[in-house]
């Protein structure tokens, strides 16, 4: 318990996203980039370093999303590492405009730089520069800060994409008092249409803290990138997060959940609807998973913390109506005596009653870790009886993870035949762990993409839905569309 408490305390102090209950809040930028006069139309948002220089003029921009404050902070300090020493200071300056984007800002469209806030001079290599930017942080919301210099020797401070997590920029806010957690969602940077609800979803997320590629949470270029997908979720500011299973590798231990997962996707724990995955069962009875999420993972069995059913349902308010969401446990051998997805099993009977009992709800989605269909062997046919129920009850979306890739199917019947009134399955197993490939592409598979990291933005409305894949900038990819509920 003491160890767990220490881990939690550490997590709250190093979290990339807001940690409202801590007296000190440490934030990572939600965007950073630089612009340079000799390349006026170029964007450098995805590079692993920033740049300040006076010849050619190069200015860095950083943006933070401050949340969790109940009063003006006593101090706000911007920390940036300079790889080289200098006798000329680097200046932190105010930027009033917070609408610039990481992948869009260029020298030609960069927002104006305002008054100087503070300066610091790098006296050694990898010196941590500290800038008092308290005057720019007066409450919750977006904060933009620029860095420049009068030195003609360029300096390249590591950016938020830098693989060395300890070198990334930080905004450290001293709240002075213990703040109260903010129960309401933070302001969104993306407008949500009236009468609709934004959901973020992906599976296959956090590496174990002892894995070689974990790298202090920062991962590598192609593995353990949960911190980056967490940033995407933060920017999306969804109403709910559907966490699609295999949330904590390699075995779903509670220690790893409290370390790796908590430090990344844990920022959204209170708005998360979790799905149990096969790797969660690397800990007996998925005890780490059920203990970490508590009743949120097993609302039908309050207090259960091991060997719980793991299937449940809930409604998502959308305007004046609801979407009905059923979460199934696709680890069929782990529940109900080992036949948890078979016809007549408790889960089967529950899902049948649940879907039939919500027949009046126009729009329905089912969440599963293992997909029913995949253009690889990363799927399970054992949930077929449950898919038959979904088809019979006009489920609109079947959302999955497990396959470490992105795959979207056209609507199809339970037997896999194309049908405009069928179930649309979308697999989003790109939450951070790593990437897997494909075998033979299935007939109704419309989009297949691997070697990407990212999350899906699912926007629900009263009669339909739209989807948009939000990729980590280092693995560009897009897929979007919409559908109507049947």
């Amino acid at each position: 318990m003491v160890l767990a408490a220490l881990l939690l305390a550490t997590a709250s102090l190093t979290l990339g996203a807001p940690a409202a209950h801590a007296a000190t809040i440490t934030l990572s930028p939600v965007a950073d980039s630089y612009v340079r006069a000799d390349q006026p139309t170029a964007n450098f948002g995805t590079t692993t370093s920033l740049r300040v220089d006076n010849d050619p003029v190069s200015v860095s921009y950083l943006k933070f999303d401050v949340q969790g404050l109940t009063a003006a902070p006593t101090r706000a300090t911007l920390k940036v590492v300079s790889p080289i020493s200098s006798t000329t200071p680097i200046n932190a300056k105010s930027v009033a405009d917070t609408t610039w984007t990481e992948t869009g800002v260029t020298y030609n469209n960069a927002p104006p730089v305002g008054a100087s806030l503070a300066s610091d001079t790098p006296s050694t290599t990898n010196d941590v520069l500290t800038f008092d930017v308290t005057s720019r942080v007066t409450g919750n919301g977006l904060v933009s800060i620029a860095l420049d210099t009068t030195s003609s020797t360029s300096k390249s401070p590591p950016s938020r994409e830098n693989p060395t997590v300890a070198y990334r920029p930080q905004l450290v806010i001293d709240t002075g008092t213990t703040a109260t957690p903010t129960p309401t969602p933070t302001p969104t940077s993306t407008a949500t249409p009236a009468g609709s609800t934004v959901i973020a979803l992906a599976g296959d997320v956090a590496c174990g803290t002892t894995e070689a590629d974990y790298n202090g949470g920062n991962g590598t270029v192609d593995k353990c990138r949960a911190m980056y997908t967490a940033d995407l979720i933060s920017s999306m500011n969804p109403s709910r997060l559907f966490a699609m299973g295999d949330l904590q590798y390699n075995s779903g231990s509670l220690t790893d959940f409290n370390g790796s997962y908590q430090n990344s996707w844990g920022a959204f724990k209170t708005k998360t609807n979790p799905v149990v995955g096969n790797h969660e069962y690397g800990t007996s009875g998925a005890g780490g998973y059920f203990s970490y999420f508590g009743d949120a993972a097993t609302p039908r069995q309050p207090g259960c913390r091991k060997d719980c059913d793991g299937y449940y349902s809930f409604n998502v308010p959308v305007g004046s109506s609801n979407w009905h969401i059923a979460v199934i446990n696709g680890e069929c051998t782990r529940i109900n005596g080992g036949v948890g997805c078979a016809v007549g099993s408790p889960q089967y009977n529950w899902l049948k009653a649940d879907l039939e009992g919500n027949a009046a709800t126009k729009c329905t989605a089912v969440l599963t870790h293992k997909p029913r269909w995949s253009s690889s062997s990363f799927y399970t046919a054992e949930i077929q009886p449950l898919v038959d129920l979904m088809d019979a009850n006009k489920v609109d979306l079947l959302l999955a993870g497990h396959a470490h890739s992105y795959e979207r199917f056209a609507p199809q019947t339970a037997s896999g035949s194309a049908s405009s009134t069928g179930i649309r399955q979308i697999t989003v197993g790109t939450g951070g762990r790593d990437s897997q490939g494909f075998g033979t592409v299935l007939p109704n598979s419309v989009v297949q993409k691997n070697h990407i990291f990212g999350v899906m933005k699912l926007t629900l409305n009263a009669t339909g839905y739209s989807w948009s894949y939000i990729a980590d900038p280092t693995t560009p990819f897009s897929d979007s569309g919409n559908g109507n509920c049947v």
Binding site: E331, T333, V339, S377, Y379, A381, E382, Q384, G439
Partner: protein, 172 residues
């Protein structure tokens, strides 16, 4: 330069390779015939998995994908057939018991599927089937308690093999 020297050899020496080639041809034919005879008596049976080659993780291999696809119906049927045993709603067991006969047919059908292209995958995917087959046999013999115990043991073996199977597909 060496090649030019060889082509300049006397004509009488050119005839000897022709005779040697004939001997070699006879020898090759004899070896081939022997190989065919050996393969007819000791060749691999269709159910033996082929040698495994390095390449993508099994989960990305088309042949493994086809293998899983081919056994889907048998796997689903076995799961459904197990429900009355697991839930202890089988009623009377015995040779004419419909649930016992269904379970027996289902487990035999699944066991009869071709071997997986990867031995490790095959081994893990078949975990528990022997016990479940014994459960079906007990069921047909009228031993309900034995059938339930053996089915539970088989399903436990299958559950234990579940994550290792997933990891084997991932290439771990």
């Amino acid at each position: 330069m060496d090649a030019i020297t060889r082509t300049d050899q006397p004509l009488t020496r050119r005839r000897r390779p022709v005779r040697t080639a004939a001997y070699i041809a006879v020898l090759i034919a004899a070896v081939a015939l022997l190989a065919v005879m050996i393969s007819m008596t000791t060749g691999p049976t269709p159910s033996q998995p082929p040698a495994e080659a390095a390449g993508p993780p099994p989960g990305n291999r088309a042949d493994v994908q086809r293998w899983f696809k081919a056994r889907e119906k048998a796997q689903i049927e076995l799961n459904d057939a197990l429900v009355p045993i697991v839930q202890k709603t089988i009623g009377n067991a015995g040779p004419s018991s419909a649930p016992c006969r269904r379970l027996n047919a289902a487990v035999i059908a699944l066991k009869a599927q071709d071997r997986a292209p990867v031995a490790r995958i095959d081994e893990l995917a078949r975990a528990g089937l022997d016990k479940i087959e014994q459960a079906a046999t007990a069921c047909l013999a009228g031993d309900v308690a034995g059938a339930q115990r053996l089915a539970a043991e088989g399903l436990a073996e299958r559950a234990d093999a579940s994550l290792p199977l997933d990891e084997a597909l991932e290439g771990e």
